[in-house]
Symmetry: C2
Subunit: 297 residues, 2 copies
């Protein structure tokens, strides 16, 4: 199986299109990766895009984009609504196929060391790469943002970076790097306008309240109808088809029906194959049986 | 969407591995295609493999393999159990994604003309490319096999080829070329040893007996258990998930259960995406949302 990971770097520039394009182009220049879905937002003053490829190629690609961002973004004049601590703000590595979480953690550390050494930017490890409990959540690492961290990093031992010096890069600040699982966004729409039913079902299925593992769920009003909106943070534990069946069970109790569902954004092939395997009791079905997959191996 | 077709050429050589390898290698030499799943059988004295890529590249690849087969196989000394009329016996073009059946028909005709002109082999068009009703089925076109056709092609106007002269190539015979839909092989295993139930369900679901469109089905004994074995000859009409649900309905009437199912061999991504779309009412789900698909576009 081909080794494949995803990386979604976030940069603190959402207004100057020339700068955004230079960062995006730098990532694209590395061979053997696909770089796509550039998004930027003026009020957040932030951009992000997706890199997919082998671990080594993705690392090279994201590093090139960081090198450009480090040169072109000055955090001392950066204003935006979104929390941030650096020119390159966050870099998550996500296993897609043939790569373990351990390998992604190792890769994040490899990039962290390289960034500290070559770009002189202090690095914090988060999520599965975190070295301390209070660095697992991104919000905790970004506490005080660029302006607050500038002072704190020098005096507070709890803010000492995992790699690099205990002082921010003069213009590029600091960066958060880590490995995390792929997040599947999945919504189930009900044929009722009674939003309270969506809220009740969300409460039944989310992990926090004793529901399905690795499921975050909320009930919303979308276009006048009730929607159960989910983030599946580990589709190997609970996949979209599992939540569909569970919600279907609850709709019967509330005497409503599922109108439709939507997989939002991108999804790894393995999640789709798993859903087929389980739903149709096709235990031997493998992604290698997908004809198109032959073409990218 | 990337244009993608499949081609599964069949050659009349299943014993001499050197010849088989030369034919296989010739197909592989063309850039931009994947060539895989070489199979050969001594008693059939026949080999086949799969080529996947853009229409033009697949045409170039299969033509190179035909050129070698024409040089190395002499039908006058060919013996084997499988019906055949030529060194290259059959060439089906199958649309996979972004390509219409019409384009595959046109491609088969383009190859047919090229083969008649450059290799001096008479060509019969079959399946969706057929120019006469009695050439739709492969068995009809191969009637009398190489030995019978050698005589008939010269005297019987009904055996006049679509392209090329009305006489066989002295060593390579004739070839059947055409376009057809992708065939999905799908089996559903029941938790009963009563094979008659599988046979009855097969009778209920196959098109021939008034069942589901584009479904061929038989009941078998596989490892002591009853199996409904299907060929889905047009998954856009009836997909594997449709047959699963239909069989599930019948199992309830016969008071048995579905034990497991199996997708046999390769399957186009679109068939899998369709199954997800329909089963989970995810009408907007598209194959473009599959992360890995980004890599082969």
């Amino acid at each position: 199986m081909q080794k494949l990971i995803e990386c979604v770097p976030n940069f603190s520039e959402g207004r100057n299109k020339k700068v955004i394009d230079k960062i995006f182009s730098a990532a694209k220049k590395v061979k053997g990766v696909k770089v796509f879905e550039l998004e930027f937002d003026k009020s957040h003053n932030r951009c992000l895009f997706t890199i997919v490829g082998s671990p080594e190629n993705v690392l090279a690609s994201v590093f090139e984009s960081m090198r450009v961002a480090t040169k072109l973004i000055d955090m001392n004049s950066h204003l935006g609504e979104h929390p941030r601590i650096g020119a390159t703000d966050v870099i998550p590595f996500v296993p897609i196929s043939g790569v373990s979480m351990k390998e992604c953690v190792d890769l994040s550390k490899k990039l962290g060391k390289k960034v500290a050494r070559e770009l002189k930017i202090p690095v914090y490890l988060y999520e599965d790469s975190a070295t301390r409990k209070d660095r697992v959540n991104l919000a905790d690492v970004r506490k005080g943002e660029y302006e607050g961290l500038k002072r704190e990093i020098k005096v507070n031992p709890d803010r000492k970076p995992d790699y690099g010096a205990s002082s921010l890069h003069p213009t590029a600040g600091a960066v958060v790097i880590g490995a995390r699982k792929y997040l599947v966004a999945y919504n189930v729409n009900l044929d009722t306008k009674d939003i309270s039913i969506a809220k009740k079902i969300a409460g039944k299925i989310r992990e926090k309240d004793g529901g399905l593992k690795a499921v975050k769920a909320l009930g919303f009003n979308v276009g006048g109808y009730a929607q159960v909106s989910m983030n599946l943070v580990d589709f190997e534990k609970t996949n979209f088809d599992d939540t569909f069946r569970e919600i279907e069970k609850w709709t019967k109790k509330f005497n409503v029906k599922i109108k439709s569902s939507e997989i939002y954004g991108m999804i790894p092939l393995e999640a789709v194959v798993r859903a087929i395997r389980y739903t149709f009791k096709a235990n031997s079905f493998k992604s290698d049986q997908i004809l198109e997959k032959k073409l990218f191996e």
